[in-house]
């Protein structure tokens, strides 16, 4: 069997959902840094979002499972911490999906620009931390709905 092209592998990885925010893929999240063939071994470099994020090991397992399902059996996963992950690496597709899911995408200004539910700009911070290390807790003072904000780092 011919080995899959690197482009094909990226496509497969783009179908692996983030375990905590399943509407976006691990590729959307920007944590897959590199895909290369080294002989008959496929090397995938993954970077953690936050150094203590408990999803990291699940993500590595999900990536490996997905690639095995596509018939690749020699896989080497490498954890790459430098350059450090930044929310700049979130794809545009990922940002749009986050918003549709009710999570305000990261903004360079340091807070959400509008409520992901009603679009109002009247928002306030509830807590600097949220349900996962990558999110903060905000609320809309117009529609009164609480929402997660994807922290910009």
């Amino acid at each position: 069997m011919d080995r899959a092209t690197v482009e094909q592998v990226w496509e497969w990885l783009d179908a692996v959902p983030d375990p905590e925010i399943p509407v976006i893929s691990v590729v959307d999240l920007g944590i897959v840094r590199d895909v290369t063939w080294e002989g008959d071994t496929l090397k995938v470099a993954v970077t953690p979002t936050y150094s203590g994020c408990p999803a990291t090991s699940v993500i590595a397992m999900d990536i490996e499972t997905a690639l095995r399902d596509h018939g690749i059996d020699k896989i080497k996963l490498e954890t790459r911490i430098s350059p450090a992950w930044t929310t700049d690496w979130l794809s545009d597709k990922g940002r749009a999906k986050l918003k549709d899911y009710g999570i305000a995408p990261p903004q360079p200004a340091g807070g959400p620009d509008r409520c992901p539910h009603c679009g109002s700009t009247a928002v306030e911070k509830v807590s600097q931390f949220g349900s996962t290390p990558c999110k903060a807790h905000w609320r809309c003072t117009d529609c009164l709905e609480p929402f997660d904000y994807f922290k910009c780092i």
Partner: protein, 253 residues
């Protein structure tokens, strides 16, 4: 002391600081005054434990005895730990926990900023990763210290008491010994004493805004970062943190 021996000590100091503080902060899980604070403390603890994995992972590598970060975290005894005493003191009330966090975060953020320029690429990479998280910790602990210090009469009193209690533990973060001299000579890490001026300026600015008064004395409790003498609290902490791996060696789930 060879360079590798000094390097190992330096890495244990970094990793033990984040490990012990991470464990202390995690003790709040399920006990914080409000849900948001509970989540914030748990997230902070998680970041610190994540950083520990990187520091102690590298320590194990440098040591060259095949030990993992887990081995170093769970199978060493109190006298082998190299954290500063500040991070092992009991949490006290919420105010004292956040004051300790602030006093540590301020040092941590300055230290990591310098380590990003380390001559050792692995150290620089860990520092780059950790510094993003710590900038966030510092923002939060500063805001909380200001909010509580410049808050009600009772919160102000408690924050001043916390500062008075914790201040004698600040000096140890800036103590220098032969390990630090070796690291500075190699360009791996700065001499801790060289961070003091920047630290004092930062801490003074925030505590002034918090309407709190820094105690006059520069007396410093020492003995943690060189392992000479920890407080009696560390052993109690370790019995909690290590019991599972001690009772069931190698247990996994």
């Amino acid at each position: 002391m060879t360079r590798d021996e000094a390097f190992l000590q330096f890495l244990l100091r970094m990793g033990d600081n984040t490990l012990i503080l991470g464990h202390r902060v995690s003790e709040w899980c399920g006990h914080a005054p409000v849900l948001e604070e509970d989540i914030a403390l748990a997230n902070t603890a998680l970041d610190l434990i994540g950083q520990t994995q990187m520091w102690l992972g590298l320590a194990g590598e440098v040591q060259g005895e095949g030990k993992s970060a887990d081995d170093l975290a769970f199978l060493r005894d109190a006298w082998d730990f190299r954290n500063v005493l500040l991070v092992e003191v009991p949490n006290g009330d919420f105010g004292r926990t956040l004051m300790r966090q602030f006093l540590f975060d301020a040092w941590h953020s300055i230290m990591l900023g310098r380590l990003m320029k380390s001559s050792d690429d692995r150290v620089a990479a860990i520092a780059e990763k950790a510094s993003k998280e710590v900038a966030y910790h510092l923002e939060r602990s500063s805001d909380t210290v200001v909010g509580l210090g410049d808050g009600t009469e009772e919160s102000h009193r408690r924050m001043q008491e916390a500062l008075d209690y914790l201040w004698p533990y600040v000096g140890e973060m800036f103590a220098s010994d032969e390990v630090d001299a070796e690291m500075a000579a190699a360009g791996i890490a700065p001499d801790p004493a060289s961070l003091r001026e920047e630290y004092d300026a930062l801490v003074q600015r925030v505590l002034t805004e918090a309407t709190l008064t820094i105690p006059d004395s520069r007396f410093a409790h020492k003995g943690g970062r060189d392992g000479r003498m920890h407080t009696e609290h560390l052993g109690h902490l370790l019995t909690q943190m290590q019991w599972l791996q001690r009772a069931y060696p190698g247990a996994t789930w």
